[in-house]
């Protein structure tokens, strides 16, 4: 709130300073915003609960998460930023429509993303209700209503600077609190060796990499899914992918990878380790998702516990805010304006977006009050379906020139349906294959097979694809400083120059061995 007030005052005081303009965030702020949006209430509730139930096996998820930011930014980063700019796409779903030249891609993409973004945000609501119930002593229902109310109000209230910097501060709070609590908790159990000795005395299979009672013994398909879901899953989340589209320079991307990866190493393992410590210190805990709040209140000074719970809320709020905004934008821009009211005024668009967020909040409360699923199950499910629907179309869009609309549709529908069926029919235990792996394989197959039946992308898209690859054989210093903002101007000046000014000049790269250049 203080950050919001401070930035609002700054923006209002100076008449020369434009709102929205002139914002040049460095790699640290970009990376922290991205990470605090990625790491949700799941990290404080779902992850530790899973470790509490399965022991060291749960760390497979953390291993994938630790490398997720690097993979996400490295694979999609530059190319997707360039291509979305060339295509003039403002939202990740609009990007898919323009890249694959199909309204059907937009419809299917919008439906999947809206349903599962809201599912993902419902998990945050449940987490907020549980955390606030512990913090305040209110009933879960009241805590939920208050928590969701705060999240929705915060989402529609702040300014951009405030939001970016609150994400940054929340990111710092999250990592510092988690590390502090981790240090304190480890001192109670005698460090890592003490923890393992205690776990072994309770049940040696807690130490196994195959889960409690060796439940996943030899199930490499499940283990691989546990690693991959967070290692590559972020590439399929529209609210994370949208950040690739708004990055300013390739230099920012590179440094952001470093900062995000470092932050991850401190952050992602500790909540799971706290779940393991919970097995030792809280053997009679009835709700495993409350392991960290209970640890904080039972064993740590009240101030530390309160700060810690504020970190939980920070994680929940920073993720919910991005999810709700993304869902609202998808509904208003990709559905309402595109298909229902193409002539919608900006005022109507804002109203629709806000209404969607509000309705989502109300539905979320109802679902969470009457039948609250676990945060872990809901996050893994929503994350998995989103990943299975979009990873393949996004990656293919920048790495496979001939990838077409039919392939993208088959990949999206095949991936989503497979994950939904695999989860609801509990095929994981029967097949020893994680729903995410099953969905990913079907999605890849869908792209490859579907692509045989669709139309080859137009010449315009193929040219844009080549341009986005950025292979121009410049020196790395030259390449790094190319300003993508100037892509539209470059295209228009190119036409003017080579058609009007110098029609005989040759465009683009030429092999010109005879051209003079300075002696070296």
């Amino acid at each position: 709130m203080i950050i919001g007030m401070w930035y609002t005052r700054t923006a209002s005081q100076s008449t020369d300073q434009y709102l929205l303009g002139g914002r040049r965030f460095g790699a640290a702020v970009t990376a922290m915003t991205m990470q605090s949006s990625s790491m949700s209430g799941y990290m404080f509730m779902g992850g530790p609960a899973f470790a509490f139930q399965q022991g060291w096996y749960a760390l497979w998820y953390a291993i994938g998460d630790a490398g997720g930011a690097i993979i996400n930014l490295s694979v999609l980063g530059k190319r997707m930023r360039r291509l979305s700019e060339i295509l003039g796409a403002l939202s990740p779903i609009e990007y898919l429509e323009k890249r694959y030249e199909s309204a059907a891609v937009r419809i299917v993409g919008s439906v999947i993303s809206i349903i599962f973004l809201f599912s993902y945000v419902f998990a945050q609501f449940i987490a907020s209700g549980k955390a606030l119930a512990t913090l305040t002593g209110f009933s879960y229902e009241w805590a939920l209503i208050i928590g969701v109310g705060v999240i929705v109000a915060y989402t529609v209230a702040g300014g951009y600077l405030a939001v970016v910097y609150t994400d940054f501060v929340q990111g710092i709070i999250m990592v510092v609190c988690v590390v502090l609590i981790g240090i304190m908790a480890f001192s109670y159990v005698g460090g890592l060796s003490g923890l393992n000795a205690e776990l072994s005395s309770i049940d040696p299979t807690y130490l196994s990499l195959w889960g409690k009672d060796l439940a996943y013994y030899g199930q490499w398909g499940v283990v691989l899914g546990a690693i991959l879901i967070y290692a590559i899953g972020y590439m399929g989340l529209p609210h994370i992918v949208v950040r690739h589209m708004s990055m300013r320079s390739t230099k920012t991307v590179k440094n952001a990878i470093l900062v995000a990866a470092t932050w991850n190493q401190f952050f992602v393992f500790t909540p799971y380790l706290l779940g393991l410590i919970g097995i030792v210190l809280l053997p009679n805990l009835s709700d495993p998702e409350m392991v960290i709040p209970e640890l904080a209140f039972t064993f740590f000074p009240a101030v530390l516990a309160a700060i810690f719970l504020s970190a939980v809320m920070a994680a929940i709020m920073s993720t919910s805010d991005s999810l709700l905004m993304q869902a609202g934008t998808t509904l208003s821009r990709d559905v309402y304006q595109r298909f229902i009211n193409p002539n919608a005024s900006p005022k109507q668009m804002v109203l629709v977006s806000r209404l969607c967020i509000l309705i989502g909040g109300v539905v979320g409360i109802i679902v969470a009050v009457f039948e609250p699923p676990t945060v872990f199950a809901l996050v893994i499910f929503a994350f998995g379906v989103l990943g299975n629907s979009f990873i393949v179309p996004y990656v293919a869009s920048v790495y496979w020139k001939k990838a077409n609309a039919m392939g993208a549709l088959c990949a999206m529908i095949g991936g989503a349906v497979t994950n939904i069926l695999w989860t609801s029919l509990e095929l994981e235990s029967a097949t020893a294959i994680h729903p995410f792996i099953a969905g990913l394989l079907v999605s890849i197959l869908g792209m490859v097979i579907g692509n045989q039946f669709g139309q080859t992308p137009s010449q315009r898209i193929q040219e844009a694809f080549d341009e986005a690859k950025g292979l121009r054989s410049f020196t790395s210093a030259m390449e790094k400083n190319i300003s993508q903002d100037l892509a539209p101007e470059a295209k228009n000046i190119s036409t003017y120059y080579f058609h009007s000014l110098k029609p005989n000049a040759q465009k683009g790269e030429t092999d010109d061995h005879s051209a003079p250049y300075p002696a070296t």
């Binding site: 529609v156 804002v350 101007e489 120059y497 000014l501």
Partner: protein, 161 residues
């Protein structure tokens, strides 16, 4: 009666462009070929919105006079009347009323994505001007390749053609 267009005076001259690019690629040969002027509309708005606290201030953007792309602006551009000698200006394709429509849609879309308001923000247009920005068209030779680049003659930012 025709009036001379508004132009932004260029800051990078011929040798400045060569210096800028050879610093990044000392082995290349850089030949600035033409200085061309690209059309933009500059639109400035007064914004009034209820955010966490009341949020008022100016928002400005430029709209590309050819392809209609929008960009946020953080400082008002400086321009002057073009000199009487003929300049190589790219022809404007976007009419002013269309540019105004594009600008409003662009500012609102940006607001939807970037700023979170309690109510719909109110925009009041303060000005709309057509101006031209200078770009160098540069030939860039390396040992075995030749490229053409545009170099923004004010900021030095560049992009291959």
């Amino acid at each position: 009666m025709t009036t001379q267009p508004l132009i932004q005076p260029h800051k990078l001259n011929h040798s400045g462009v060569i210096q800028l690019l050879t610093k990044l690629d000392p082995k290349a040969r850089v030949i600035p070929e033409e200085l061309v002027y690209y059309p933009y509309y500059f639109l400035q708005y007064q914004l009034n919105a209820k955010a966490l606290l009341r949020l008022t201030g100016k928002v400005a953007c430029t709209i590309d006079g050819i392809s209609g792309q929008g960009a946020l602006v953080d400082a008002p551009p400086e321009w002057r009347q073009a000199p009487p000698e003929p300049l190589k200006t790219l022809p404007v394709r976007l009419m002013e009323d269309e540019a105004i429509k594009q600008a409003e849609s662009f500012v609102y879309n940006t607001a939807i994505q970037k700023v979170k308001y309690f109510t719909t923000p109110k925009l009041k247009r303060l000005s709309c001007k057509l101006f031209h920005r200078p770009y160098w068209i540069v030939r860039h030779h390396t040992k075995c390749k030749e490229h053409h680049l545009i170099v923004d003659a004010i900021t030095g930012k560049y992009h291959p053609l």
